[in-house]
Symmetry: C2
Subunit: 348 residues, 2 copies
């Protein structure tokens, strides 16, 4: 089969890779219908993270089950399924508590499973999914491309934006500020709207993303960052601050802005992978601004989010603004690296 | 009147100070029945914080109202009252949201009020209380010294420990770990018990504080700190981590320990004033461990906590292990600085 491999910074190739086979009775093999490139993949593409050998990459996919191990009970060949960006048993103490991203027996794609067998990346034609019952969730076969894109969004980007909103405690009537205008930030805007926010203030300097943010339900756009953005949000909230802030970047500046524009007693939901980020603890302490969030427990959210999509929530798929065949995966990375696209959907 | 002044590191004196007078119609003057020394006062006493002039000090008190301004409605001369360690209007947006510690019109003791008039410290004979209706809460006159001590505890130390437990989301059945064995940490132990924790693991190396922690309801004591304490808590929780962790120190080490011994998806409630502390954000992110807390909104908690004391909750007063006359305030600071006492109650 063909699978995406990062051979070095900027060097993305679609290589010939071994077809996956069932190793454990809890495995399933899926044929990928759609996958995509994540903002976190770009850290590797740009060489911010360095791999000492070629890296099998990609962690978002929807597909059709082709084969299951003898112990798999909840999905069957032919089922349309969504995979979270991490696999999990969904039974350990952490999974039972809803934190499937910290599964005691789980792991990630493109790495080894607990038995030492390699797990495929998701930017390829087939994927062996370990612990299939605890990982995959089946849904009706998508009726059209928009539905397919929305289901793919749930694999990571939508669920991550959702996690920001849930972690920040967004409730009906809230004024929510969203820091970050990438696909996750835009998904966070849509999630805040879905959770009943009355006002959603999106921060973006790019007209195309500002427009998409408004389409997804943002009521106000602030086209600045840092102290200027903080001042703008305080001004828009009568000096009080936002009821909830969703931090979707992960830098010290963005964390600082988020924690400073949040009203006393509120929570910043953070889902931007922190890169040498130091939150301003004194600010948190002085005004009781909490910091919650992290890796999204996608498996935990999937049943609810799938139902929302089936009920007509179209926002998840709308962050994909370009579709390419998998053969053009290198161009897809370049699209996102050069901001020609917010998020690229790839079809094998 | 006599009032406590820090003239320099280690130099605490009971000075003759002006008797307070009503400046604003919202002021009240109280005669102090009991006050005490806070762990945060020691930062000044030890010269970790430096003042460029003599500092009026002390921010915890209970007393009797002697005089009120024309607009004061909720307390009257003769009332026994508790003052939070900050004064507040209890009506602004932040107070209405329960964050009285961030009152838009409030402030602290030993500083100037919004009109530029000095506000007394609490380690003295009388205190002018600005915004008396929004600050003071009346309670029945204490029947005995134990009740008086418990009411004094609510002014800061108990409410701060309570805030750690509330911020961490302690619920019935939880296993709670408490980092810090000072008066606040011990109050946090008692608060976790009062909120229904099934197990409370106290961290302390000092036999007298270990004993008091057990008296207050700690079910286990870990006599180590840092990585060793983390390992002990993980061991006691089957490798899962504590359901809630109460951080009552404020150093990088203690924050790091707290955030590492907390189970994935849980919250560390932090009330130790952070001193150059940097929380481990990557750990927080990887396992969704949240950090919440800060300055306790004492005024918000007082009605509930007063009722708990009236209903027989004796823990608040039990962290005071020495009583001295106010004239011995310098000795009280030395007691706490040299760990001869956990918390000293002073009677004018």
């Amino acid at each position: 089969m063909r699978g995406t491999v990062l051979h070095g910074p900027g060097d993305i190739r679609l290589d010939e890779r071994p077809d996956p086979v069932i190793h454990a009775p809890t495995d399933a093999i899926i044929e990928v219908l759609a996958t995509c490139v994540c903002g976190s993949d770009l850290w590797w593409f740009r060489g911010v993270h360095l791999a000492d050998k070629p890296r099998i990459i990609g962690h978002e996919a929807v597909g059709v089950v082709r084969e299951v191990g003898a112990e798999v009970r909840t999905v069957r060949p032919g089922d349309f399924v969504i995979t979270p960006f991490l696999w999990s048993d969904n039974t350990c103490a952490h999974c039972a508590a809803g934190v499937t991203s910290s599964c005691a027996n789980g792991g990630g794609f493109g790495a080894l499973d607990r038995d030492g067998h390699p797990v495929d990346g998701c930017q390829g034609e087939f994927i062996r999914i370990p612990l299939a019952d605890g990982t995959l969730v089946a849904a009706p076969h998508p009726e059209n491309d928009a539905m397919l894109a929305s289901m793919l969004g749930l694999s990571d980007v939508t669920s991550t934006g959702w996690h920001a909103a849930v972690s920040a405690g967004v409730r009906p009537g809230h004024t929510v500020a969203v820091v970050g205008d990438g696909a996750v930030g835009l998904s966070a805007v849509a999630s805040a709207v879905a959770l009943g926010a009355e006002r959603v203030i999106a921060m973006s300097k790019y007209p195309d993303r500002q427009a998409l943010a408004r389409e997804l339900g943002a009521t106000e756009v602030v086209d600045s960052r840092g102290d200027e953005a903080v001042a703008a949000v305080l001004d828009l909230t009568g000096g009080i601050g936002a009821d909830a802030v969703l931090e979707c970047v992960g830098t010290s500046e963005s964390l600082n802005s988020a924690l400073t524009m949040a009203r006393p007693g509120s929570t910043v939901g953070f889902v931007g992978i922190p890169h040498d980020a130091a939150p301003p603890v004194s600010r948190m302490f002085a005004d009781n601004v909490a910091l919650a969030g992290g890796m999204a427990p996608v498996r935990h959210y999937l049943p609810d989010l799938i139902q929302r999509v089936l009920d007509g929530w179209t926002a998840p798929g709308r962050v994909f603004d370009r579709v390419r065949p998998l053969a053009e995966v290198a161009e897809a990375y370049a699209d996102m690296d050069q901001r020609r696209a917010t998020k690229v959907l790839l079809r094998p």
